[in-house]
Amino acid sequence: MKDWRYWLAEQRGTLLAVGIFVVMFIIYASNHPAGLTANVVQTASNKGVLLAFVAMAQTLVVITAGIDLSVGMIFILTNCLASWLVLGTPMETAFGVVAVLLTGAICGAVNGAIVIYGRLQPIVATIATGAVYFGIALLLRPFPGGSVNEDLADALTGRLFGVIPSSLVALLVVVLVIWVPFSRSVLGRAAYAAGSSETAAYMSGVPIRRAKFAAYTLAGLLAAIGGLFLTFFTYTGEAAYASGNAYTLFSIAAVVLGGVSLFGGRGSAIGAIFGALAFRTIGDLLFVFDFDPLWQPLFQGVVLLIAVSLGAFALFRVRNRLEWFG
C-alpha cells in the first residue's frame, strides 16, 4: 500500500466527521432564510465553537480510554467564575482570564489525580467531582448575573475583516497551541498508547500516569476556554445544571460523531471539533425548517441515538463471535 492510503485509513473518522459537517452545513445554509451571510456564519460558529471546546476536552480524556462526565460542570463553573473576574482594565481582565483558565486546569487535574493516583473509575469519580464543581458554581452564582469585559467579548465573538468569525480563529489558535503540540509530543503518544492497551504501554516503559494526568488537566483547561467563551457570548454567568449536563452529553455525541473511539487509543480532537460543529448544525436544522423548538431535544436525542448505533454496523463484519467481547 502507498503511504497516502495509510494516512487516509488513519484519518477516516476525522474525514467522515468533516464530510457530515459539510453536508449538514450546506443543507443548513442553503435553506436558511437569510442565506449564507457573514452573520449566519458568525452565529453558527459562535454556537458551534462552545461545544467544540468542550468536545476537545472530552477527546483528550477519551483517548486515554477514560471519560470525563464533569466537563460540562467545569464549563459552567468557569462561566460563573469568568462573570466575576473577567472585568475591568485590560490588566485586570488578563488576570481574570488566566485565573479562569487556571481554575479549569485545576479542576481537570483534580479529576486526573483521583482517577490515576486514587485509582477510581473515571465514570463515578467524574460524576462526583462534577457535583462538586457544580456546587462551587452555584456558590459563585446563586442567581444568574455578573458581567464581562465587553470589548474583549465583542472582539472574540465578532468578525475579523468583516467576514471571518473571530471565534473560529480562536478555536484554530487553541488547536494549534494545545492540541497539535500535545498530539505530537511524547506525552500525547503515551496517552494514545495508554488508551489502546495499558499493559502494552506499561511494558514499553511509556509514561502512562503523566500522560493521563496531562490529558485530564488539559481537558479541564479546554473546558475552561469553553466556559470563558460562553461568558463572552452571554455576558453573564449562570449555574445552570441542565446546561452543564447537556454539554457533557453533547461532548460525548460530538466525540462519537468525530470518529474518536470510546474504547480509547484512536481519534483526534480535529474530528471531535467537526463532530461538534456537525452536531450543532443538525440541531439547528430544525429552526431552518421552521419546526417548533420544542422538538429540538427529541431531534438531538434521536440524532445521537442514530450516531451511536451506526458504529454497530462494524458488528456485521465480525466473523468470530468472540470478538464481541473485546
Partner: protein, 329 residues
C-alpha cells in the same frame, strides 16, 4: 481432602449475604451509625423512630431505583438513562390516570411499561449492537427527555398523581410501616433471591466477571443483558411512579437528582463498578447512607451549593477508602 470438602460444605450453609459481605458493606454501615451519631449531637430527634422511619421512606424511592442500577452495574455496565426514565415513569403514570377509571387502574403498570421499553432499547443497544452502555443510555436519556418535552410542552404536566399511586407512596397498609418501605423491602427481597438463588443471578455475576467465559459456557449472554436493562428501566420508572405519588405530581427534571445518588449508593455499598462483585446488602447500606447524608445536610439548612459539594466530596472520599482498583504492580 475430605476435611477440605467439609469446610466447603460448612461455608456453603452460611447465608450468602454473610459470606459475600466485605469491608465495603461494613464501612457503609459504620458510616450510617456515625452519621446518626453526629446527627443526634445536632438534634435529639435524629434517633426518634418517626425520623428514622421517615428517612427509610425517602430512602425507598432511591432504593427501588438503585436496585435496577445495581443489576446493570453487576454486569459491568451502567445505566445513565435513569433521570428521564424516572420522569417518564412518573409522567406516563399520571398521564394514563387522566383517561378515566381504566386509565387509573392501568396507571402504575403503564408507567413501569414505558420504563421497560426504554430499558429494552438500552438492552438491545448494549447486548445486540455492542454499543458501550454509557453511550447508548445517555442517548436514550436524551430521547426520553425529548419525548417528554414534546409531550408536556416544556412545562411540568398538570395531571396529578392518581390516588392509588399516592397511596402506594405515602399510605400505610401495615400500621406504622410506610407502603414505600414495604415495596422496597419486597423488591429488595426479590432481588436478593434472584441474584443468589437463580440461574439468572449467577449468569449476571458470571457476565460481569468475564463475559467471554460466560458466553463460552453456553449462557445466552445477550438475553441476560437485555433483561437486566429492561428490569433496570422498569425499576427506574417504578421509582418515578412512587415519586410522583409522594409529590402528588410529576415534574420536568424530577429524575435529575437520582442518577448520581443511585450510582453512588451501589458503588458505596461495595459493588464493583467493573461488574461481577457486590451484594444487595451493600446497596441497601449505600442507599440509607446517601439518604441520611442528604437529610442531615438539609436539616442543617445547608444551601444546595454546599450540599452538592459535600455530597461529591463524601462520595470521592469513601470510594478512595475502599473502592479503588488494585494497583497495577
Amino acid at each position: 481432602m475430605s476435611a477440605t470438602t467439609t469446610t466447603g460444605r460448612f461455608a456453603g450453609r452460611m447465608p450468602k449475604f454473610i459470606r459475600r459481605a466485605d469491608p465495603a458493606v461494613a464501612t457503609s454501615f459504620a458510616c450510617i451509625i456515625l452519621l446518626l451519631f453526629l446527627g443526634s449531637l445536632y438534634s435529639s430527634s435524629f434517633l426518634s423512630p418517626e425520623y428514622l422511619l421517615q428517612q427509610l421512606k425517602v430512602a425507598s424511592f432511591l432504593g427501588v431505583i438503585a436496585t435496577g442500577m445495581m443489576i446493570v452495574i453487576l454486569l459491568g455496565q451502567i445505566d445513565l438513562s435513569v433521570p428521564w426514565v424516572v420522569a417518564v415513569g412518573a409522567m406516563m403514570a399520571c398521564a394514563a390516570a387522566a383517561y378515566g377509571p381504566v386509565g387509573v387502574f392501568l396507571a402504575i403498570p403503564f408507567g413501569i411499561l414505558c420504563g421497560v421499553l426504554i430499558g429494552l432499547v438500552n438492552g438491545i443497544g448494549v447486548a445486540y449492537l455492542r454499543i458501550p452502555s454509557m453511550i447508548i443510555t445517555l442517548a436514550t436519556n436524551a430521547v426520553a427527555q425529548g419525548l417528554m418535552v414534546v409531550y408536556t410542552g416544556g412545562f411540568s404536566p398538570q395531571d396529578s398523581a392518581p390516588a392509588a399511586v399516592r397511596y402506594l407512596a405515602t399510605g400505610f397498609t401495615i400500621p406504622g410501616v410506610p407502603n414505600a418501605v414495604v415495596i422496597w423491602a419486597l423488591i429488595g427481597a426479590a432481588t436478593v433471591f434472584v441474584l443468589t438463588r437463580t440461574s439468572f443471578g449467577r449468569a449476571v455475576y458470571g457476565i460481569g466477571n468475564r463475559e467471554r467465559a460466560a458466553y463460552l459456557s453456553g449462557i445466552d449472554t445477550r438475553r441476560i443483558v437485555l433483561i437486566a436493562f429492561a428490569v433496570s428501566g422498569g425499576l427506574s420508572a417504578f421509582g418515578g411512579v412512587l415519586l410522583a405519588g409522594y409529590a402528588s405530581k410529576a415534574a420536568q427534571s424530577m429524575g435529575d437528582a437520582y442518577l448520581l445518588p443511585a450510582i453512588a449508593a451501589v458503588v458505596l455499598g461495595g459493588t464493583s463498578i467493573l461488574g461481577g462483585r457486590g451484594s444487595y446488602l451493600g446497596t441497601v447500606a449505600g442507599v440509607i447512607l446517601i439518604t441520611l447524608l442528604q437529610s442531615i445536610l438539609s436539616v442543617m439548612q445547608m444551601p444546595e451549593a454546599g450540599r452538592q459539594i459535600i455530597y461529591g466530596i463524601v462520595i470521592v472520599a469513601m470510594l478512595l477508602l475502599y473502592g479503588r482498583s488494585p494497583a497495577s504492580r
